[in-house]
Symmetry: D2
Subunit: 307 residues, 4 copies
């Protein structure tokens, strides 16, 4: 599949199914991709934060790329996270992605070394110049510790090969401002990360979301996208409330910042989509925490609209 | 060389000499190591922040390890930074370090994924269990975005294989508190990162410093360590003032956070120690900035005590 | 006027017109209140951040209260900001407000001393117990340096006298979560501060906004509220775009955090609503900055929908 | 007493003894000032953070000023904190301080409204121009949320009436840099706030400390100042260790940021210096917490050097 000029809809930031020995659970990966394609998503984004990409060795990352491209098999585009502290490694992974048939790569900008906006722009210019695949920007300051300012996005948005932005900052005003500046272009994609903001963003013109919950319940997120995109406020509100229920019950069971990732993987394992195995630095939920997720899933599935 | 039970003195966080094509400047690396050993340093720490470790590809990091061990040749211990977002890569690099004859590895904890203190302790436990070499902790919150709390340090300091801490937080109260808690052990090393704090830290009992300026003027930092270690306050103050002059003139020529790394590498190139080449995301100083560093170096070398 | 059980619509965080000598411009204050009432706002909030309340002496604050109550004269409710580092001063001002006929007071929680959520809850409990007027919470972490967690809001929302929340955090997920938790109550008011979020918030069920731009163009913000409240997405988008234009042209003319307050006051002076005088620590725009605001106002008034 | 051109030694940031009804405990205030003068301190700083100044009403602040001047009676200088969100209130308090015979006022810069460094410099210029008393800068970013950059300090240090700086940032590099820039002037005072940094700061040339623990054990802090000032490293280390013990046992009994203030006031009440009463937003320790402080005091007083 080649990437459309503009992505619209829900892209799943794919969980990475892992085996007990820490390797890739290839069957789980294929199964999960079938699940989300069947649910109507517009693409998959592998090796992102939800996919634990930066926590996997280079060899495992490459295996995920190869298998995801095989599984998607041209039905939806495959985007690949290449966050790395070394530009050389990011470029090498981009080249590998191209060779395997992926459709785009996604960069947080450099990690570890703090950069100015001018340095960040230079970085994107170098990466886009060297990458054989289109590059999406991934604004993820909570993890990458660098933020793409609106001015930086505008400056790099015209570079050949820069195709869009996923904003996971949680700052709706930033994203709307970019919508005002870039939303009329039909060859640049603006996506929102936090699923709790999917309704807001799409109602006011953002093109879609890259939302973790679509690993679990792809139809729900796709339906919310469609209602908001159609300007159906009552339906949007109702589906938005369901999304907030998913978030509250599955991602917030502890105070730690790891609750989201541990919760969603645990829930996915309860749904039979993958095993409850995480890469370091995180450990899977155990015992009472697993029970809580199981109960919350049970409650959720009793709500109309979640299946 | 095997690592002594406790390091004392100045350890150089070694710059990584790079060639114009981005590869390792092997001759420069050997020359720089000779320079700092001749200046009396107690060890070298390669692939740290000053060494741009996380900005280098895995292959280049390995080359630095191999060549540094050859160059040091047992005269001083070689410590190697293994900061990585993937534990598996950090362990693999540790194993490589052991095979090449390095003496210890240095971990910031996991990068990218935010961790709680409990998760950080688990990470260190796994790393120390898997690493064939002793592990130093590297408290570097400005870059790694995780901080080792005093409680965490205490909890992991007793693990087999955990050998010491380099604190680059800039928080003298944190370091002194650890000095109070751990300073009496003769098998655990406490080192301060920022050279502007070397005088303070050593006067009050910290074992030494891992200070970037010792790439340039190793004798100065060694002399300051010795004066402070001997409790000679007037001499410490005089040498400390020189260290502050180095910092002001070479590391602060622009407002950006990259000024330190760009300034020190430019100065090292002016001193003939390496080329003025940096890895992305940083670019070397050019033009007027190089002139400024040259002039500042000239002024510094006119001061008594810097050579 | 007594406060309705739930405020809905746009409340103006009133600018405080000042005379050249730093005193209150009483005529300006009356004129501004007429202007916003004529524009259809649902209330005025005096001595907030936009009103420079904390920058005014206690005597000036009292004069603002007295004159605002006179000017509003029961046509719309008058809410009064009582942010202070001393609880005793906040209570004293509440008592004065009651005596002058104001309708509610608005607290940021304590300023200066950092508090835990438990300490913040105790503070609200004491204040609500001592205040003769209903108390609104004002979540304003950028200035007050304390944030009301959702849990804290839930715990104090049932106290007698706690009437609502204005959220100026810029975190739409926080506000929507409170909407989920409290939005069905008909006696508790949820308002959004940043006008760039008014469309989002109201589309998804928040009761209205306390938006600075309504000092200048009250009809615009009231129309946006009404469109969003009615679920009219196309009209909401069009008016929302106008609000973003106001924000971009009037509040962002410099990089400083004072641009908002200096810009809005300068614009209000150009519109003949008040003088271009600010209280320390801020100084009014001068020269080219005034020209820029004048030109931007001219451009704005050429857009359909702004008058 | 008129203020010397340069203060040297330990200045006590005086606790404010409060009565059970929230008023000033005048007898306690006189007793506490006798206690610290007897212990050899070089001055008292009332209405600072330790003195809960910003938490007291204006009327109570004035009573503290009047009574402190009476109690000090010219034996040591009286400095008064005037932190306020309104410049007009700060100036009014300065005038009152002058009329009561205080020696200097201490400003954090404006609270509540965020300011740029240029705005901060203007604020200091206005305040120093209007204040009849010399003005000290109080760098207290954790509470005032504004920091005096080194450049700002240099720019205002030459203004008539600007007399010195108390640095409570905890950043030893910042303070040492100011020591390098201003330490040779004999008419400008540099003081360190956190007592855990008193040894460091004075060993390297800072003029003294404004240290909360000197409310309790003034002789200890004065002895530490004298040892460090004389360059006696062994004695400095020994006394510094005692100061760290005080800090650990009395200020860190809970995780909250209020532990310092609640702990020191509880300890002072145990020593018979004042009552265990705090102004909102803080509440005094109770029950087991009081017992813990009592036991820790008992342990401390068993150490040689604390009395």
């Amino acid at each position: 599949m080649s990437l459309p000029p503009q992505l619209r809809g829900v892209v799943t930031p794919l969980l990475t199914p892992l085996a007990e020995d820490g390797g890739i659970d290839v069957d789980g990966l294929h199964r999960l991709i079938e699940h989300v394609i069947a649910g109507g998503v517009a693409g998959v984004f592998v090796l992102g934060t939800t996919g634990e990409g930066p926590a996997l060795t280079v060899a495992l990352r490459r295996e995920v790329v190869t298998e995801s491209c095989k599984a998607a098999n041209g039905r939806v585009p495959v985007l690949v996270g290449i966050a790395d502290s070394a530009l050389g490694e990011a470029v090498a992974l981009s080249e590998f992605c191209a060779s395997e048939g992926a459709d785009a790569v996604v960069t947080t900008g450099p990690t570890y070394f703090p950069v100015s906006q001018a340095e960040l722009q230079t970085y994107v210019r170098k990466l886009a110049g060297a990458s054989p695949l289109p590059v999406f920007l991934y604004n993820m300051p909570s993890h990458a510790h660098v933020a793409f300012s609106a001015d930086t996005v505008m400056r790099v948005a015209d570079l050949p090969g820069v195709a869009g932005l996923k904003d996971s900052s949680g700052d709706i005003m930033y994203l709307q401002n970019l919508g005002r500046l870039l939303g009329k272009r039909d060859d640049f994609t603006l996506m929102v990360g936090p699923e709790e903001m999917l309704a807001d963003a799409v109602l006011l013109g953002i093109h879609g979301g890259v939302n973790g919950g679509s690993n679990l319940f792809p139809e729900l997120y796709v339906a919310l996208y469609e209602a908001a995109s159609a300007g159906d406020v009552p339906k949007t509100r109702a589906l938005h409330d369901l999304v907030l229920e998913v978030s509250r019950r599955l991602y917030c069971t502890t105070d730690s910042t790891s609750s989201y990732l541990r919760g969603i993987k645990c829930a996915a394992s309860q749904l039979g989509l993958c095993r409850n195995v995480l890469a370091a630095p995180y450990a899977p939920f155990e015992g009472a925490q697993v029970d809580a997720i199981r109960n919350h899933l049970h409650e959720l599935r009793a709500l109309e609209g979640i299946s």
